[in-house]
Each structure stands twice: as C-alpha cells, then as structure tokens.
C-alpha cells in the first residue's frame, strides 16, 4: 500500500466518524441533514414539496417517524432514513447491496486489521449489519443480506424509491459512522450505472398535513343503477348512513348539510357562493369533488347542481332526520384519544368548588356519625339486627340504633362552561367547526350547562345562553359566521356579564382564540383593554382557561395572569385538542376538590 492511498483511507475513517458525530448531534435535536449534495439523512420520513414552486427541496416530516412509517415499528427513533437522490436511471438494488456489503466489510477491516485473520468473526459482524439495512430502488427492494444473494422483492406503484435510493438502517447512536460508509458506496453504484446524482437544493423541516380522506372510494350509493347480472342489491342503509355522517362531521349537523346541499339546488335564491361556503365550513371543494365522484353533484351550464341521486339523498336526510341526528350525537359523544399530547399547559390555579350530593343505592354504611339523617337501607339493617340479636341474646327480634344502615352518598362537582370563541376572520372553517364541536360534545357528554359567546367585527354576541338543550345549542352554533376583527375585551365583558346574570355552578370560562385583540373597548389600546377586562374575570371568581397558539404566547400569558387563569398552547386548534384540554381541566378540578 503506497503512502498516498494509506492517507486517503485513514482520512476516510475519520470522515465517517466525524459524520457520525454530527448525525448524533443533529438527530438528537430532532433534525435531519443533507449529507454532501444529494443525500438526505434523518430519522423521519421525507417528502418532496411539489406544492411549492421551488424545485429540488426535500421536506423532513417531523411528525412521521421513519421506523413507524415504513417498517411498522412501535418505538420511534430506531431507524435512520437515508435517501440518495439521482437523475432518471435504473439502479439495481442488488448492485447497491453488494457495494454496501463490501464497503462495510472493508471499513471494518481497515479499522481493525486483525480481523483479516478472523474471517468468521468478520463475516458475522458484516452479515449482522446486512440484515439491519433495507434498500429500495426503482428496480426492487430488500435487505442487504437478501439482495446480496440476488433475492429481490418487486416494488409497488406507490412506494418510495422512484427517483432515489431509499435506505433504512437500524443503527444505534454509536454506529452512525457507518452511514457515511454506506452512502458513499451507494453513490458509487449510481455513478457506475450511468445515472447522475441530483442536487438537493434545500431541506425543510415540517409536519405532514393529514391527508384528507376520500370517502368516495368506498361508500357506494345504493341508487346507482346496476347492470351486472350477479350484482346483488347493495345494503342501502349502512352506506347512505355513513355518507351522511361523514357530511355531518364536516358541516356540523343535519341542518347544515341541508344548507350545504341547498347551495347546489336549482333555486338560485338559495344558492351560496363557494367563497361564502368556505367562510363557514372551510375547505368544501374536497367534499364537492367527492360528491361529484359519487354522482350526487354534476356540472352543468348554470354551475354545479344536485343530480337526481343527490335529490334522493336530500330526501333521505329529510325522511330520516331523527335517526341521523341521533347517530350524529352519538358520534359527538365519542371521546377522542390522544390524551395530553397535543397541547402544553402553563400556569396553575386552584379555586374552591361546590359539589352536589347524590344517593348511592349500591353502597351502605353502618355508622353515620350519630346523626339520624340519611336514606335508611332496610334489608341491610334487618340482617345486621338479626345478627346482633343473636349476639345480644335478645329473646325476640329487635332493631337498635347501631344496627341501622344507610345508603352512601356520591358527590360530583358540576362545572358550567361558557365558551368564549373568537369569531374573527381567521377562525373561519375548521377552527370554527372545532369550537362548535367542543360545545356540542360538552352538552352531550356532561350533566352541566354550556353557553357560547363570540366576538367579531366590533362587537360580541351571546350565541347560546347557558343551556342543556342540544337543539338550542346547535341552532345557535349554526349562526356563527367568522369574519372581521378581534374585539377580545368586548367578548370578555359580555361573557362575564352572562355568567353573572345566569344561575350557574362553578362557572368556567374557556377562551378559544388564534389571534391577538385589535379592537379596543375603552381606550385606544386593544391589548390593554383586554387585559383590563380579564381582571373582571378574576374579580368575579370565575375559573378561566385560555386556549391559544404558540405565536401569541406572550400576550396570552399576560392575559391569563390578569384573569388568574391557566393557559393551554396548542399546535393546532383542532377539536380533539380542545376536548382533551377541557376534560383535563375538569379532571383537575375534581382532583383538587378531592384533596381538599
């Protein structure tokens, strides 16, 4: 070995180790990196960003762990994901595997020349890694171990690896140096095959948007005509039901589905423009498109209108309104999973709570602290008396005071909730739906009253006064149409006045907002007015929780400080987060009451 190559090799070893160290550092910070020009390495899934005009960018999806996404692992951070991007060309995965195998083998040999004499040992080590590395190219896929023996699985249409070598390596932190070795070897194969390496311009970290589900793919409308001979009539109810439930989930209720479908009727006076629809329900285009696929809406000269089947659907909804509404309510009652993962809690406040006592017929207690009050449990008392008669040696059956059994009491703490919802323009669509859903969920699952107050434009409005009636609530919610500015101070004042004037137990004010106040009430400073208003909440001894987004943290913190409330920051104002937060807070109240 001449000196030059020796030095080269030596630096090679060091290069690999230094890359390994860097990877350790950045992966620890939950980041991915671009290794060299054409390789993206991380422990997450990667995606191209065709929606952005800038080409050549790769997005590292922070919410999609590579092991979980590609290999169905349960634990995260187990797998390193290496993508080597190349220009069009056919890459044989077996060649890549062989090169990787050889490179790893060579690397170990150089690192520890003694291994030269321990072939078995060396093979064991390398084969071990070969089983932990998975390669997929546009020609096929498999583990290095399998591919090395030319055992290859075909790749399917939608899999990764079209324009890059997609590698998944199960390595632990001390083994990250191998990544450089593997990558370099794989690049050699790309170049040898005649394809060129592609330069990744930039990497971006971000979350993957939840892909909107298409129900048109599996719901079948029974009114479809069938021509196939063996086609059995479709089970009508389940399909239509599910379709209506899906629509209800999106639009917020039967009434609103009706309103939405009305927008596609031939009666031009009832039609609503797409912009108007969007304001209320968010992204409706996706739904319109699916309804088109289901043959419920069609394009005509006068615009999109309902087809005959669409009319039938509408009729079905009208005819079966009761059952459908009942099932919608059933779905709203469902408690989302996810627990406390979607939000962050700041601050802590303890307030005294009053509770209500109920009789528990299934539990009896014997000694009631020498008071005679309580519900007498007759059978238990008689049994006790009979036993005691025997012990007391009474000559006939007697009941004494200490034989008496009473039914136990259960207690619960009612928390009446007033939602103070920001209805400014930015809350349009999904955020509005989430807040409405929260209100409905609270009415349907609890025993407590719920009220909704909104603030928008220059004023606030009591949309729903404190109620337990679901119908009153949903009617009120349907009137919320977000638009305009954010007059927070007005909102707070209206909510406090509502709470003060209603007969409520342990009132809690839940503020849901995604922005900052920009309309003042008393002075010219909107924020100062809001803070001033918040002190009223504290003065009136109302529990306060604020739900907002991270970017408004500093203001919301001040607001909660003045209002003596708790702040929850969410990454997304979705309904699961909202429900979980309120549940969490209610649980807290219960716990603190128990402690006291």
């Amino acid at each position: 070995m001449d000196r030059q190559t020796y030095v080269d090799r030596q630096t090679n070893v060091d290069k690999a180790i230094s890359v390994g160290n860097y990877l350790n550092l950045y992966f620890g910070q939950n980041q991915g990196i671009r290794l060299g020009d054409s390789v993206v390495v991380s422990r997450k899934a990667h995606a191209k960003m065709p929606e952005k005009r800038l080409k050549g960018q790769i997005k590292i999806l922070l919410n999609r762990d590579a092991g979980k996404t590609y290999l169905d692992f349960v634990e995260s951070d187990q797998v390193v994901h290496i993508d080597i991007y190349h220009k069009p060309g056919e890459i044989n995965p077996c060649d890549v595997a062989k090169a990787v195998f050889k490179a790893v083998d060579q690397y170990f040999l150089e690192k520890d020349p003694q291994l030269q004499y321990a072939e078995d040992e060396r093979f064991k080590i390398v084969a071990g890694y070969a089983n932990k590395i998975f390669i997929s190219t546009n020609q096929g896929k498999g583990t290095v171990y399998d591919l090395f023996q030319n055992i290859m699985q075909p790749i399917s249409e939608d899999e990764e690896g079209r324009d890059h070598i997609h590698m998944l390596a199960r390595l632990n932190q001390e083994e990250y140096y191998l990544i450089y070795v593997i990558t370099e070897a794989a690049e050699e194969v790309v170049l040898a095959s005649g394809a060129k390496l592609a330069k990744v311009r930039n990497i971006v970290h971000g979350n993957q948007k939840q892909a909107e589900e298409s129900f048109a793919g599996y719901i079948k409308i029974p009114w479809k005509s069938f021509k196939g001979q063996g086609a059995t009539p479709l089970p009508a109810k389940e399909n239509v039901n599910q379709l209506v439930l899906k629509l209800a989930e999106k639009f917020g209720g039967v009434h609103e589905i009706d309103e939405f479908l009305e927008s596609y009727s031939t009666n031009i006076f009832k039609r609503k423009g797409i912009e108007q629809q969007k304001k209320k329900w968010g992204d409706v285009e996706h739904y319109v498109q699916q309804l088109e696929e289901l043959d419920l809406i069609k394009n005509t000269l006068v615009g999109k209108i309902l087809t005959k089947k669409g009319m039938q659907l509408k009729e079905f909804i009208i005819n079966h309104k009761c059952e459908i509404e009942s099932e919608i309510r059933r779905n709203i009652r469902k408690v989302p999973s996810g627990g406390m993962s979607g939000f962050r809690k700041l601050g802590k406040v303890e307030k005294k709570a009053s509770c209500v006592k109920l009789t528990n017929r299934n539990k009896t207690i014997n000694n009631l602290d020498n008071t005679w009050a309580g519900d007498l449990a007759v059978p238990e008392t008689i049994i006790q008396a009979r036993k005691n008669c025997f012990l007391r040696n009474d000559d006939h059956f007697t009941v004494r005071r200490k034989d008496l059994h009473y039914y136990d009491k259960k207690s619960y703490i009612p928390v009446d909730i007033c939602l103070l919802v920001d209805a400014s323009g930015s809350m349009a669509g999904d955020k509005r739906q989430a807040a409405c859903y929260l209100a409905e969920h609270l009415v349907l699952t609890g025993k407590e009253k719920v009220a909704v107050v909104t603030f928008q434009e220059r004023d606030s409005k009591v949309v729903v006064p404190f109620t337990r009636n679901h119908q009153t609530l949903s009617k009120g919610l349907a009137t919320i149409t977000p638009a305009g500015l954010t007059p927070l101070a007005q909102g707070i004042v209206a909510a406090v006045n509502l709470i003060k004037s209603s007969n409520v137990r342990n009132p809690m004010l839940v503020l849901i907002t995604d922005g900052l106040p920009n309309v003042p009430l008393w002075s010219v400073d909107a924020k100062a007015d809001a803070l001033e208003a918040a002190t009223y909440i504290a003065k009136n001894n109302i529990r306060l929780i604020g739900i907002g987004v991270e970017s408004n943290k500093s203001f919301l913190e001040k607001l909660m400080d003045k209002g003596e409330g708790v702040l929850y920051l969410v990454d997304d104002l979705n309904r699961d987060n909202l429900i979980n937060i309120v549940r969490h807070e209610k649980k807290n109240i219960l716990q603190t009451a128990k402690m006291a």
């Binding site: 290069k15 890359v19 860097y22 950045y26 980041q31 990196i33 671009r34 290794l35 060299g36 020009d37 054409s38 191209k48 065709p50 080409k55 050549g56 991007y85 220009k87 939608d158 324009d163 450089y180 370099e184 690049e187 050699e188 390496l197 592609a198 330069k199 311009r201 930039n202 990497i203 971006v204 129900f215 048109a216 599996y218 719901i219 079948k220 479809k224 069938f226 196939g228 086609a231 059995t232 089970p235 109810k237 389940e238 599910q242 696929e293 079966h320 009761c322 059952e323 059933r330 009652r333 469902k334 408690v335 017929r361 299934n362 059978p379 008689i382 049994i383 009979r386 059956f397 699952t445």
Partner: protein, 406 residues
C-alpha cells in the same frame, strides 16, 4: 298487549324481529345469543321484546328447582350430586322458558342472590340460606334489561355481574353472602337489552365498552317511514280495536287465534333449535370470517364467534337448509356495528359485495383521482450533484439553517 305475530313489521324493525327469533332458538338449543337494540324513543324496542314472552317454548326442569335444573344435566347445589333415580323421584315439570327483567331498582342481591330474609327472620325456625337472584333463576331463558346504558352508569356492580354472565357461553355466576358458603353455578341466559343512545348517559359503548362488546349482536332501530305502516300501528293500538277485537275473514278474534299463532311459533322454534344443533358453518365461510378478522383488524374474537353463530341461526329462521355467504353478509352489520367504526363497516360490506360495472376494473373514474395526489414533477431536481468523496469534510454536513439563505 299486541301479540308477537301481529306487531307491525317494516324495514327499520325487521332486524329486531329476526334477532328475537334467532336468540330464542339459540337459547332453547342451549347456546345463548345476547343482543342489544338501540334506537330513538318510541320505536318499539321494548314492545317487541316483551311481546316475545308469549312465543317462548316450554322447558323441562326438576320439580320446584329455582335454578331451573335440566333433569338430564342438573347443575344447582341442591341437585347436582343426585343420581338419575333420585331426580326421577323428585319429579319433572314443564315451565315456560324464563323471561325475567332487570329493572333499575335492581341491586346486587336481587340480581345475583342474597340471604333469604324471610327464612332469616322466621320466628320459630330462623335459618340463614341463599335466595338466588334473577340471573340464576333465568337459567335456560332470557333476561331483559331495559335502558341498559343507565344501568351501566348507575350500577357498575351489576354490570360486573353481567360481564361475568355474558363473558363465556355458558356463562357463570358466583353468589356470595357473608357468613354463607359461596355458590358458583353456570348460567345459560341470553341477555336482551334496549337503550336509547341519545339519552342520558349516552351510548353503552361509551359508558362501558366491555359490556357493549359482550353483546353478540346489536341492531339500530329505524322509524317507520311509510304512512301505511304508521296508520296500521295506530289502528292496532286503538282502544276500541283492542277491546272489541279485530275481525278477520268475517270471524271475530277472541284470543283463540292469538294463542294458535303463538303455538305455531313455539313449534317452529323447537324445530329450528333441533336444526341448529345439527348445522355447522361450511369451512369456506369460516375461513371467510377469519379473513375478515385479519384484514380489518377486528379487535374482538367475540365478533367472529357472533358472525358464525348468527349466520347459522339466520339461515335457519329463514327456513333454508344451507348457510350461504348472503347469511354471513346479512349479519355483518349486526355483529360488527358496535365493535368497529362506520367507515370500516362500510368498507367490509362493500368489499364483499357484488361490484357494479362502475366499480369494476374498467372504471376510470376512481383511478384518475388516485393519481392526482402525486402528480410527478419530471425534473424536480435540476442541478447535478457531486459525489461524497469529492466533497471536502467541511461541506459534508448541511443543515436547514446553513442551506437557507438568510
């Protein structure tokens, strides 16, 4: 009360009528089938189930046995150790198949069993003994629980007992009372339940998921949607119609015909039960159910058992001699609706359903949209890149920060 055969049938309540018959047949044959009818108020859930009381066939038991011991297989603490001759000496009696209800004033003592207060407080001969509750007394019969969601909410203890009784087939109950020996008996009861998911405290599967899974079948009641149905229901419920009786073929119904119809049902049930004992699900259908379980990740094995039992029973009450795929298909919504979400259910139903022309291989409509999501950008990467080995060490690691021009 309107007899079972004369109750108005329409699309929305058909499933409940089927389930009632299936469950009676199964119970009579010795294998319980639990079901739960859910629906908005006033759809006749309770009416239909209570009316079924009159079509229940008779069962034989050891004379006077409160545990309803089968003379052929006695199970209660009093009779289980007796020989055939001894049992013969006690005698056998015929009673209608038990139909008992668990109401909301029920307590653990009344449901499972408790100390016999009458005997305990007997002046001349006080004695501590067990009085079996509703469940052991309903052995080989039916227990009806109205508003089961409320029961599950207010009486978790009774729910626990039901869980035990419905957990296996046959189920099992343990009656305990301080100072008395524990009695442990098997019980073969079908539990029928009704609830309105819309009223306090909400649907059963939200209150006690386990209990909801114990029900083999569930049916969602629909409202009648035709004018004819409703006017028929009204007519049958009018006071004068009930008092004077209806006229059929010019003959006045004096209750004789009701009894005749009920006996017809009882005979049918006995016959069907015999068939049920002999009929097994063909292997290919069993495999089919197993594949559904795997493919759709069904959580509970009970679901597949319910599908198997339900398909056989359904084919029998429809007077067919063979179980076919359409029988399995028919019971899928009933057996799965409370166990999986609506999307998966619809997927399962449509998956095995006959495909129309539009959904076949020749369909272009669906395919187009599938590809739309991932429109390939042909030259996404414009620049060529240098290989790693040509890159100096300082340029190897690039982060988002270093790559983004500020």
């Amino acid at each position: 009360m309107i007899p079972f055969y004369r109750l108005e049938r329409y699309e929305g309540n058909e499933a409940l009528f089927e389930l009632v018959l299936m469950s009676i047949v199964s119970t009579y044959a010795g294998e319980p089938l639990h079901f739960h009818a859910e629906g908005v108020r006033g759809t006749g859930k309770t009416t239909i189930m209570r009316a079924a009381r009159d079509i229940l066939p008779a069962i034989k038991r050891i004379k006077g046995c409160v545990y309803n011991c089968d003379p052929a297989a006695p199970h209660c603490p009093h009779h289980r150790n007796l020989s055939a001759e001894e049992i013969e000496k006690i005698g056998v009696e015929e009673i209608p198949m038990p139909f008992l209800e668990i109401s909301h004033s029920a307590k653990v003592g009344t449901v499972a069993g408790s100390i016999d207060l009458a005997k305990l407080t007997d002046v001349s001969n006080p004695e501590a003994s067990l009085l079996p509750g509703i469940i052991p007394q309903a052995h080989r019969g039916i227990i009806f629980v109205d508003e089961i969601n409320r029961l599950a909410d207010t009486s978790p203890e009774i729910t626990d007992i039901l869980l035990d009784v419905m957990g296996n087939k046959p189920g099992h109950i343990q009656i305990e009372e301080a100072g008395l020996p524990v009695v442990d008996v098997t019980v073969n009861v079908s539990v029928w339940a009704a609830s309105n998911p819309d009223e306090e405290p909400g649907p059963l599967d939200e209150i006690r998921r386990q209990l909801s899974d114990r029900f083999d079948m569930v049916c969602y009641m629909g409202r009648p949607d035709s004018v004819d149905n409703i006017s028929h229901i009204l007519k049958k419920n009018s006071y004068s119609y009930k008092r004077i009786g209806n006229e059929e073929n010019g003959k006045k119904n004096t209750g004789y015909r009701d009894a005749e119809e009920n006996i017809k049902y009882q005979k049918d049930i006995a016959k069907w039960a015999e068939t049920f004992v002999k009929t097994d699900l063909p292997d290919f259908l069993r495999n089919f159910i197993a594949r559904l379980y795997i493919k759709y990740n069904l959580e509970s094995i009970r679901a597949t058992e319910a599908l198997q039992q339900g398909a056989v029973l359904y084919s029998i009450i429809k007077r067919r001699d063979k179980v076919t795929i359409s029988d399995v298909h028919h019971v899928i919504p009933m057996a799965l609706k409370h166990r999986i979400d609506g999307d998966t259910l619809v997927r399962i139903i449509n998956d095995i359903d006959g495909r129309g022309v539009k959904d076949g291989i020749l369909s272009f409509k669906g395919k187009k949209t599938q590809k739309k999501g991932e429109t390939a950008v042909p030259d996404y990467f414009q620049q060529d890149a240098r290989p790693l080995k040509d890159i100096s060490r300082s340029e190897l690691i690039n982060t988002e920060k270093t790559l983004t021009p500020s």
